[in-house]
C-alpha cells in the first residue's frame, strides 16, 4: 500500500475547500498527496471483490483548461509538491481505471450527485460503494476548510471500531494531536470496553498517548454527540455489522454523519490496518 492520499479534484470553489482539507490531512499525517484531474465523466475502481463505477457530477469536468493550474497553485501554496495521477489502464477508451492501493482517499459527501445535495445526513451511493469495498479509509471533509486540532474516535466494540481506533492512534502519533475516545455504553460497564480494547491490542498504545475517554453510560446518543469538539477529526467504523443488523438496530455511522459537520474519516469493513 502506498503512503498516499488520493484526491479527485473538482475545479470549483467547493473543490478548492476539499483540496485544502486533503492537503492539511496529508501534512498532519505525513502522507503524500496524489491528485486525479478527471478527463471523463466516469472512472472505475477495481477493488478486490467489487468494481465501483464512479459517475462524476458535471462540476468535476468544469473548465478543464484551468483545473491542473488551479490544483498546482493550491498545492504549491501549501508547501507540497503537486503530483498527479494519469490512469494507465482503461476498461473502455473513455473509462479509465484508477489504482486502489492508496492509504486514504478523500471523497466529498457526494461525488456523483449535484453538489447542492451535499448536506448533513447525506452520503452519496458511490461514496458508500467506495467505503464498503475499499482497503483504505475515506476522508469526508467538511464543506468549508477547517483545520482539525484533535481526533475523536467512536468505539462501540466492533471489529471495525477497533480498526478506527487503530487509525486514530496512528494519526494522533503522527500529528501530535490529542485523541479522544467516544463510547456510548449499551448497558455494559467501562471495564467491558477496556477489555475489548485490550483484546485488540489497543489499550497499551492508547495509554501511551494519554487519551481522553468520553464514556457515556446514560443519555441519548445524539444528545451526547454535542460533546465531540467542533475542531475534531472524527474517525468512525462503518458497515461492520451487515445490512440486516443495520436495518433492525440502525447504524451508528449514519447517526454520526447526520449530526456532525466535522471532517470525518470513515473506516470500511475491508480497510487494511497495520499492527502496532
Amino acid at each position: 500500500m502506498r503512503n498516499e492520499l488520493l484526491h479527485v479534484f473538482r475545479n470549483t470553489p467547493l473543490g478548492r475547500e476539499t483540496l485544502f482539507q486533503s492537503i492539511y490531512f496529508c501534512k498532519k499525517t505525513d502522507t503524500s498527496l496524489r491528485v486525479y484531474i478527471p478527463v471523463s465523466k466516469q472512472f472505475l475502481m477495481y477493488f478486490e471483490n467489487e468494481v465501483v463505477t464512479v459517475d462524476l457530477d458535471d462540476s468535476y469536468l468544469r473548465d478543464p483548461e484551468t483545473a491542473k493550474i488551479h490544483a498546482e497553485e493550491i498545492i504549491r501554496m501549501e508547501g507540497l509538491i503537486p503530483r498527479f495521477i494519469e490512469p494507465k489502464s482503461y476498461t473502455a477508451s473513455t473509462l479509465p481505471d484508477l489504482p486502489v492501493d492508496f492509504k486514504y482517499m478523500t471523497c466529498p459527501r457526494s461525488i456523483s450527485d449535484l453538489s447542492t445535495k451535499i448536506s448533513l445526513g447525506y452520503i452519496g451511493p458511490k461514496v458508500r460503494g467506495i467505503i464498503k469495498n475499499s482497503t483504505f479509509p475515506v476522508l469526508i471533509p467538511a464543506s468549508v476548510f477547517k483545520p482539525w486540532k484533535n481526533i475523536t474516535v467512536f468505539f462501540g466494540g466492533s471489529n471495525n471500531a477497533g480498526k478506527a481506533v487503530r487509525f486514530g492512534i496512528e494519526i494522533s502519533r503522527k500529528s501530535g494531536f490529542p485523541l479522544l475516545l467516544f463510547t456510548q455504553s449499551e448497558g455494559k460497564p467501562k471495564s467491558y470496553y477496556e477489555e475489548l480494547l485490550d483484546q485488540k491490542g489497543l489499550l497499551k498504545p492508547l495509554k501511551k498517548l494519554s487519551f481522553e475517554w468520553l464514556f457515556f453510560e446514560k443519555g441519548d446518543f445524539r444528545k451526547n454527540l454535542y460533546e465531540v469538539p467542533h475542531d475534531s477529526l472524527v474517525i468512525v467504523g462503518a458497515y461492520g455489522h451487515g445490512p440486516i443488523r443495520d436495518i433492525l438496530f440502525g447504524s451508528k455511522m449514519e447517526l454520526i454523519q447526520s449530526e456532525l459537520p466535522n471532517n470525518m474519516l470513515i473506516v470500511g469493513p475491508y480497510c487494511a490496518v497495520h499492527q502496532f
Binding site: 463505477t53 459517475d55 494507465k88 482503461y90 481505471d97
Partner: protein, 557 residues
C-alpha cells in the same frame, strides 16, 4: 464443500443468468419488431435505424451511464486484467440498447451484447459468493458461454466461443464449469422458447469436387472477413473524427443504413430470415445480387457498429457468410454449369463458418456453431476445411480477432500464461526488499567502511541528508578497491561512490516495465524510488520467485 463441486454448482447458477439474459433479449427483439411491423412498408421507414441507433446510444450513455461498443472487449479485459470483475449495470444496459438498434433495422446481431450481460451476471454472482479471482474468471467464461449457448440453442458452440475468444485457454477445470454453464444456459432458453434448431438444413450430396471447391470458398470468406474488419476500423475512426457527439454519430450511421435498406432490404436487422431462406434452398438471388447483398451487408454492419450502434458481429457474419456462399455457388455454376455441385445451402453453411471463424479468429466456434445450428454433422469435414484455411489466411493480414484489436490498440491485451499476463498479476509493492541500508551522501568512506563491516548487504541507498531524498545506489562490488585503501578513507565521500548506471523504478511502474528496465540496464537489482523517497530494492531473483508462485496459483482453482 469441495472447491470444484462448488464452482460447478455456481457455474450452473451463472448459466441460468446467461440463459435468462438471452431470453430477455430475444423477447425484447420480438416486441420491438412487432411494434414496428405495421410501419415497415411506409415511406419514412428508412429513418427507423437512425432513430433506433440514437435512442440506444442515449439510453446507454446518458441513462444507464455505460460506455458504447458491443462489450466483448470489456469482458476480455476483465478476464485478463481485472480478475473477471464486471460492472452490474452491464448486465442489462446493452440488452435494451441492442434491442433498440436491431429491432429498428440496424445491421447488427444480439450475440455480443448478450455475452457481456451473461458475463456480468456471472461476475456479480461470483462476487456474491466471494470467489477467488481465478474462479471468478472461469465463471465469467461460463456466463458468456451460457449466453451464446442460449441465443443459438448451441451449448458446444457457446463453450468453444468462451474458451477461444474470452478465456483464451482450454484447461480441464475451465472446460467442466463452462460446459455446465453452457448446457444450463441452453436449457433455460429451451424451457422458454422451445428446442428449436435455428437453421435446420436438409441432406447434402457432397462430392470430392465440392470438397476441393471449399478451398476456393476459403479465399472468399477470408477476403470478406478482412474487408469487414478493415472497413469497420476505418468507419469507426472516420466517424469519431467527423462527429463528436456519440448519439448524432450513431444516428447518422443508422440513417445511411436506412437509405441502403431502401435498395437492399436484406441488410436491415439481424437478417436471420434470409439465412433461413438460403439454407432451405428457397432463395431467389442470382450471382450478382448475392454479391451485391454481401457487400451491402458488410457496409451496413460497419456503419451500424462502427458509428456506435449497439450490437454484435455474430449475426452479420452469418448473414454475410451465407450470401457469400450463395454467391460462390452461383459462380461455380456460372463457370461449370454442367457439373453437379452441391446445393446453395451447403456453400452457404460453409460461408457462414468461414466468415465467422475469421472475424473472431476462433475456428472451433465457427465449426461447432454451424454444425449445431444446422442440426447435423454431415458438413463437418467441409466446415473444418473452410474454417481452418480461412482463419490461417486471414491471420496473415489481420493477426487478431475483431474483439482483441481494440484491446491491442490500447496495449491492454494479455494472453493467459504469458509473461505479460503473469507479471501483470504481481504488484511491485509486494516485491520490495526494505532491508537495504540507507547511508548519508556526506558520509566519509571511513564511516561507511564501519557500516559495511556490520552488515551483510551488498547495496546501500545514498540519501540526501537535507530532505531525505534518494540520490543513488552504491554496490559493494564496484568499490572494493577503495575499501582496501585506508589512505582514501578520509578523502572520499559516499556520494562519489554512487554507481551512475543504475536506473530507478517507481511504484507506478508495472512489473513488465520493471523487467524491461532490468533487461536494458543489465542490473540484477534496482532501487524503488517514489516521489524522491527510497522505498527499497527490487531484485530479479525475487520477481522470479514470485513469478513461479503465481504460476502455481494459476494452476489452482
Amino acid at each position: 464443500m469441495d472447491e470444484r463441486l462448488k464452482l460447478v454448482f455456481i457455474g450452473a447458477v451463472a448459466g441460468v443468468g446467461g440463459g435468462t439474459a438471452a431470453v430477455f433479449l430475444n423477447k425484447a427483439l420480438e416486441i420491438g419488431r412487432e411494434i414496428l411491423l405495421p410501419y415497415r412498408g411506409s415511406w419514412y421507414s428508412f429513418i427507423f435505424p437512425a432513430i433506433g441507433a440514437f435512442l440506444s446510444t442515449v439510453f446507454l450513455i446518458y441513462i444507464v451511464k455505460d460506455v458504447g461498443g458491443h462489450g466483448v472487449p470489456e469482458v476480455i479485459y476483465s478476464v485478463t486484467k481485472r480478475g473477471g470483475l464486471i460492472r452490474l449495470r452491464s448486465s442489462f444496459s446493452r440488452i435494451i440498447s441492442c434491442a433498440l438498434t436491431i429491432s429498428s433495422g440496424g445491421s447488427a446481431g444480439p450475440e455480443s451484447p448478450v455475452v457481456i450481460s451473461g458475463a456480468s451476471v456471472a461476475s456479480n454472482i461470483a462476487c456474491h459468493f466471494r470467489l477467488k479471482d481465478r474462479q471468478r474468471i472461469i465463471l465469467v467464461g461460463g456466463g458468456a458461454a451460457a449466453a451464446i449457448a442460449a441465443i443459438f440453442n448451441a451449448p458446444v458452440a457457446g463453450m468453444a466461443f468462451s474458451l477461444e475468444a474470452i478465456i483464451g485457454e482450454w484447461t480441464s477445470t475451465n472446460l467442466i464449469v463452462i460446459a455446465v454453464s453452457a448446457a444450463v444456459g441452453a436449457e433455460v432458453c429451451r424451457i422458454f422458447q422451445g428446442n428449436q434448431i435455428p437453421f435446420k438444413g436438409g441432406t447434402f450430396t457432397i462430392s470430392n469436387a465440392d470438397l476441393l471447391a471449399c478451398i476456393g470458398l476459403s479465399f472468399f470468406t477470408c477476403l470478406s472477413a478482412i474487408l469487414l474488419m478493415k472497413l469497420l476500423r476505418f468507419i469507426r475512426s472516420l466517424s469519431n473524427r467527423i462527429v463528436s457527439s456519440p448519439c448524432i454519430r450513431a444516428a447518422l450511421g443508422g440513417l445511411i443504413v436506412g437509405v441502403i435498406g431502401i435498395f437492399i432490404p436484406e441488410v436491415l436487422g439481424e437478417g436471420y430470415h434470409f439465412v433461413r431462406e438460403i439454407i432451405h434452398g428457397k432463395s431467389k438471388y442470382g450471382l450478382l445480387l448475392a454479391g451485391l447483398i454481401t457487400l451491402g451487408k458488410t457496409l451496413a454492419t460497419c456503419l451500424t457498429i462502427g458509428t456506435g450502434g449497439i450490437g454484435g458481429l455474430f449475426a452479420p457474419c452469418l448473414v454475410i457468410g451465407s450470401f457469400l456462399g450463395l454467391f460462390y455457388q452461383k459462380l461455380l455454376l456460372f463457370i461449370a454449369p454442367s457439373f453437379s455441385w452441391a446445393g446453395e445451402s451447403y456453400f452457404a453453411l460453409l460461408g457462414m463458418a468461414g466468415v465467422l471463424s475469421s472475424v473472431l479468429q476462433a475456428p472451433m466456434t465457427g465449426i461447432f456453431l454451424i454444425t449445431e445450428i444446422t442440426g447435423g454433422y454431415q458438413v463437418l469435414i467441409s466446415v473444418v476445411l473452410v474454417s481452418v484455411i480461412s482463419v490461417c489466411l486471414s491471420r496473415i493480414f489481420e493477426p487478431f480477432s475483431v474483439y482483441h484489436q481494440e484491446l491491442i490498440a490500447r496495449g491492454e491485451f494479455l494472453r493467459p500464461r504469458t509473461d505479460r499476463y503473469i507479471l501483470s498479476e504481481l504488484n511491485i509493492l509486494e516485491l520490495i526488499d526494505q532491508n537495504c541500508q540507507k547511508i548519508r551522501s556526506d558520509m566519509r568512506l571511513r564511516e561507511f567502511v564501519e557500516i559495511v563491516k556490520k552488515t551483510k548487504s551488498d547495496f546501500f541507498a545514498v540519501i540526501d541528508p537535507k530532505d531525505g531524498h534518494y540520490i543513488g545506489l552504491v554496490h559493494l562490488d564496484d568499490i572494493r578497491s577503495y575499501l582496501f585503501d585506508p589512505n582514501l578513507y578520509d578523502t572520499i565521500l559516499v556520494e562519489e561512490l554512487i554507481d551512475p548506471n543504475i536506473p530507478t523504478v517507481s511504484l507506478d511502474h508495472e512489473l513488465l516495465e520493471v523487467m524491461e528496465i532490468f533487461d536494458y540496464s543489465h542490473n540484477s537489482v534496482l532501487p524503488v524510488v517514489h516521489d524522491g523517497k527510497f522505498f527499497g530494492l527490487i531484485s530479479k531473483s525475487k520477481i522470479l520467485d514470485h513469478y513461479r508462485k503465481e504460476l502455481m496459483v494459476e494452476e489452482e482453482i
